[in-house]
Subunit: 246 residues, 2 copies
Amino acid sequence: MTQNIYDDPHFFAGYATLDRSVNGLDGAPEWPALQKMLPPLEDKTVVDLGCGYGWFCRWAREQGAARITGLDVSLKMLDKARSMTEDPAIDYQRCDLATLQLPAQSIDLAYSSLALHYLEDIDTLFGTLYKALKPGGMLVFSAEHPIYTAPLQQGWRVDDAGAKSWPVSHYQQEGVRISNWFAEGVKKQHRKLATWINALTGAGFEIIHLDEWGPNAAQIAASPALDEEKERPMIFLLSARRPAQR
Amino acid sequence: MTQNIYDDPHFFAGYATLDRSVNGLDGAPEWPALQKMLPPLEDKTVVDLGCGYGWFCRWAREQGAARITGLDVSLKMLDKARSMTEDPAIDYQRCDLATLQLPAQSIDLAYSSLALHYLEDIDTLFGTLYKALKPGGMLVFSAEHPIYTAPLQQGWRVDDAGAKSWPVSHYQQEGVRISNWFAEGVKKQHRKLATWINALTGAGFEIIHLDEWGPNAAQIAASPALDEEKERPMIFLLSARRPAQR
């Protein structure tokens, strides 16, 4: 089973302080780029893998999605998400994505924000999602970038002049990375971008767009702390499609 | 016009000492991986973009390719390549890839080894190659990896314990990087993996396979100097296809 760190009280409390927790999608600087990669949602069936507080589920409903399922392994997250809507078109379910099952050709969009890097086995998930998507349906997700996850000890190097760089090592050594992020021993998986992409094409997906996200000048002006994100991508955004004709 | 550093006498002399110059394809540790990404070549029409000494052109001929065109901007490289074959099925032509023109739907495989990172404009080239490929035809190439090219000053960091890492910075700042590699002021272009991939999908290509190449244990045992290549990818290999049905 995938580690359920979000139900750790310290982690949950720390996570609640994040701008993306307090302010939702608009608190996530990558959201404008991710939003542009989404298909029209009017009357669509959507699944959100690792829905957290449910910000995306509620937003998808505002865009006219007909049925939205938010999945998360964390009971605390699901409680919080359920407390924020009474819309019967939104359904929250507890699910370990490692054992996800979905009806064949039942969904138009599978979405996931910063959740899939917790999964040890991405091939099985992508196979499940491919079968669950209708032909022409899309998978749009973000995850931590392998440049960020590669080092066994992740952190900036600052030189004598104050310039920041991100020392990359162990890039070819895929697998678990342990970090201390609101809690001790948070387990994430390092996998190469090539592994993400080949897992998608291997499952039958067509790669549509990749964004190794970084802030633009206006975002840095508004949030100077984002400046260092120019130096190396912390996350990537990827959209893929189940081809209509296969 | 793209910089023609290969005709610099010092560069040409230095390049001639590389294992991949002396021993050809078998001197390039990524060749076994790149070879696996190639389609069958029997009776096919092949273009090699940046053919150098022509090792790949001659190999393609051995695989039964019917017509092979080797393109290079360097007269010294073309002279060397021409001196190594008299096969009328292999034609070497001087070409700046920045102004490449090819007949529509005339080729089965466009191949390039470690040449495209010299080009300032990759969109135009990929558009040209898409039109020149027959439906179902493939583009298979290698280029320097953006993790390697990102820093303005490229080099290893070695910590007190002797561990190597590659400090990444300026990843989002695409454009020229100047390095001293057998000659002063060698100009290469840094572009994100996302930019390579989106340029391909934007031109109509389907992404087939990506390899952020690193050495395997047997290669490191045979060539201990390759050990550091585990830490960060220096090059990537990519295969893409012009879909048969479009």
